[in-house]
């Protein structure tokens, strides 16, 4: 091909300049297409070169032995996923399966955990971690990081099996596009994600993945924590109907869209205790918004900002949650069976898996049944909406039972089922 291109360019060079004028429109357009293509390719190749260089900038410190052939590798982006991996590592350790736990945060609680058959290693963040993962040799790797083969983490030839585990109780509807396409298997909560993945595979004609419905490991962890917590209602001096505002982060999140208006309406009415629990990422990605909201709505006797690692205590205190499409909605539903008011209309589908699905996913449809779905115009009526939703909460039990099958089946068994699956995979390698 290269020689052909060079030959053609030579022919261009030997041709008298005005011979191009003798071309008919079809050929003229061909020349234009070629020029456009050449410019496009040049830009593309330049970008690939620059970004390719960026990939190799990783530091060699904290580097694990990348020549070693690992058995099972579990990779965590940081402590926020410890609840996802802990039940699995515990189970693998108890079965004597040699496992390497890599984490991108040196404050990951997993590093302090004592295991017999699980080694632990901090491998650095960003490019450092990508460098290690892209060179890895292992029978199998399990991770919550989506976008394998699309974003920075590429499939390593030395890894036989890539497995993804979902890290929220909702579906992969809101994942970025092609998040799961290049994994060999996905460990999901229930039928909703199984069906969603099958629909995407059908539409994209992509390779079929093994989908194992294990339930939710981190929800199991929260169940244990809740059982052992001994929480009492002590966040506020006076016990009143308590509203937990707990949205996702980003420009389409509730706090970005309507935070000011919603918090003003809630606090002005004086009828509620309010807990605001922004997504941890909000304090990083939308710091200005957080600073402004915390300045306008400082902590009082009836308003608290919750920045704890898990939201269990806040969920325990509240009678109702106001959210958008954050995964915490379903944690709240399954752990406490309490109603949720959601603002979901602002959900940005572009660039996400949702865009390639025929319909809204199970969890998005479920929002209509676990409380009311609201628009901005409903904020002025929020007080009556909260009261009516709380009074109807007994109807939630049946919905929760059905939703459990779709989103988080096998309560208490997810870690064991994940380990069963891992064991079955490595046996065949």
């Amino acid at each position: 091909m290269y020689h052909l291109i060079m030959l053609s360019l030579l022919l261009f060079a030997v041709t008298p300049s005005n011979v191009y004028a003798y071309l008919d429109p079809g050929s003229g357009s061909m020349i234009v297409s070629v020029i456009i293509a050449m410019v496009t390719i040049l830009i593309y190749v330049t970008k690939s070169f620059i970004y390719g260089k960026m990939k190799s900038l990783g530091k060699k410190s904290d580097m694990p032995d990348i020549k070693r052939e690992y058995n099972v590798v579990v990779y965590s982006e940081g402590g926020q996923y410890w609840n996802v991996f802990h039940p699995i590592l515990r189970e693998l350790d108890s079965r004597g399966i040699q496992t390497m736990f890599f984490t991108s945060r040196n404050d990951d609680p997993g590093l302090a955990q004592e295991f017999t058959h699980v080694e632990k290693k901090f491998i650095g963040e960003g490019h450092n971690a990508f460098f290690v993962l892209n060179k890895l040799k292992a029978k199998m790797i399990l991770m919550t990081t989506p976008g394998l083969g699309v974003l920075q983490i590429k499939r390593s030839k030395g890894v036989k099996h890539y497995s993804h585990i979902t890290h929220a109780t909702g579906t992969c509807f809101s994942y970025k596009a092609f998040s799961l396409d290049y994994f060999d298997s996905v460990l999901v909560g229930g039928t909703a994600d199984r069906d969603l993945i099958a629909e995407l595979e059908e539409k994209r004609r992509s390779q079929k993945k093994q989908v194992e419905m294990i339930g939710s490991t981190y929800l199991d962890e929260l169940r244990i924590k809740l059982k052992n917590s001994g929480y009492t209602y002590n966040m506020f001096g006076e016990k009143k109907t308590t509203v937990l505002v707990s949205p996702t982060w980003g420009s389409h999140g509730l706090l970005s869209k309507y935070g000011q208006k919603l918090l003003k309406t809630l606090s002005d009415c004086g009828k509620f205790n309010i807990i605001v629990r922004p997504h941890p990422q909000s304090f990083i990605s939308e710091k200005n918004l957080m600073d402004e909201l915390m300045k306008n709505f400082p902590e009082t006797e009836s308003l608290k900002w919750d920045r704890e690692k898990d939201g269990l205590n806040s969920m325990f205190h509240s009678d109702i949650m106001i959210s958008d499409f954050s995964g915490i909605i379903f944690d709240y539903l399954f752990l406490f069976e309490r109603p949720v008011l959601t603002f979901k209309s602002q959900f940005e589908k572009r660039g996400r898996e949702a865009m390639d699905l025929k319909d809204d996913s199970y969890d998005i449809k479920l929002l209509d049944r676990i409380g009311k779905t609201l628009a901005e115009s409903d904020i002025s009526e929020i007080v009556s909406l909260i009261n009516s939703s709380i009074s109807e909460k007994q109807a939630l039990s049946a919905v929760v039972k059905e939703a459990e099958d779709a989103l988080a089946r096998h309560p208490g068994e997810a870690g064991k089922r994940a380990a069963d699956f891992i064991q079955s995979v490595i046996k065949t390698i």
Binding site: L4, V14, A21, D24, G26, S29, A37, I41, F178, E348
Partner: protein, 232 residues
């Protein structure tokens, strides 16, 4: 450079000379022999044109299929992330930007014909001083319209008019940007060829008439193929 010309263009030039000479000896008219040569070369070129057109169409089709997703990602992603997502779209469609060069193959096949035609008609002494119909000398600019004491060449305008009609028909298969480009090229031809010999313009005007019919047929055929192709 000369070796390339001898390998790729000279045989075609010899063929044109052979055809033009024989047609002239058969019908005794340099003008009509140029027209017949133009049509004969075009008929020989049909499979080549068709192949080149199909290559270009394949490129256009795949670009059109990828466009909605690429536009979607451009709306939400930036920088490196956007680059990665666009690369993945290419991967999904088994495409690489380098494949755009496939359309260059069509041009590579056609280019020797263009060069040979230009070279042949620039040096074809048989048409010098030869009148044809209303043209007084096929070897000089036509100057058919006497204005302001000098002659205005009409054949370049006729050729451009045919080029524009042909571009309009052909342009139905193209993007807006490509359509603008071919109209600009058609107008550019007018400027560049304005002072060319009438014989050359006669040849190429006939070539473009043929090209017009070819475009009509190709557009129909490719549109029918597109309609019957299974949707992805």
């Amino acid at each position: 450079m000369n070796i390339l010309y001898m390998i790729f263009c000279y045989p075609i030039e010899l063929l044109m000379e052979f055809l033009a000479g024989h047609f002239n000896s058969l019908i005794g008219s340099q003008g009509f022999s140029l027209i017949l040569t133009s049509f004969s070369i075009n008929i020989i070129m049909i499979p080549v044109f068709w192949y080149a057109e199909k290559l270009q169409q394949r490129e256009r089709n795949i670009q059109a299929e990828m466009k909605p997703k690429i536009d979607e990602y451009k709306g939400v992603f930036k920088g490196y992330e956007l680059h990665l997502y666009i690369s993945n779209i290419h991967k999904q469609y088994n495409y690489h930007p380098i494949y755009a060069f496939r359309s260059l193959l069509g041009l590579f096949i056609q280019l020797p014909f263009f060069v040979a035609t230009y070279h042949f008609l620039s040096h074809y002494s048989a048409i010098k001083g030869v009148p044809f119909l209303f043209i007084s000398d096929l070897g000089s600019p036509d100057m058919l319209l006497p204005l302001f004491g000098a002659g205005v060449n009409v054949l370049p305008f006729v050729m451009t008019a045919i080029n524009l009609v042909s571009s309009f028909v052909y342009g139905k298969m193209l993007s807006k940007m490509e359509r603008i480009n071919i109209y600009v090229i058609a107008v550019l031809f007018l400027v560049l060829l304005y002072t060319s010999p009438a014989g050359l313009l006669l040849y190429w005007t006939c070539n473009n008439i043929f090209s017009f019919f070819k475009s009509v047929v190709f557009v129909k055929l490719l549109q029918n193929q597109k309609k019957t192709a299974p949707a992805l």
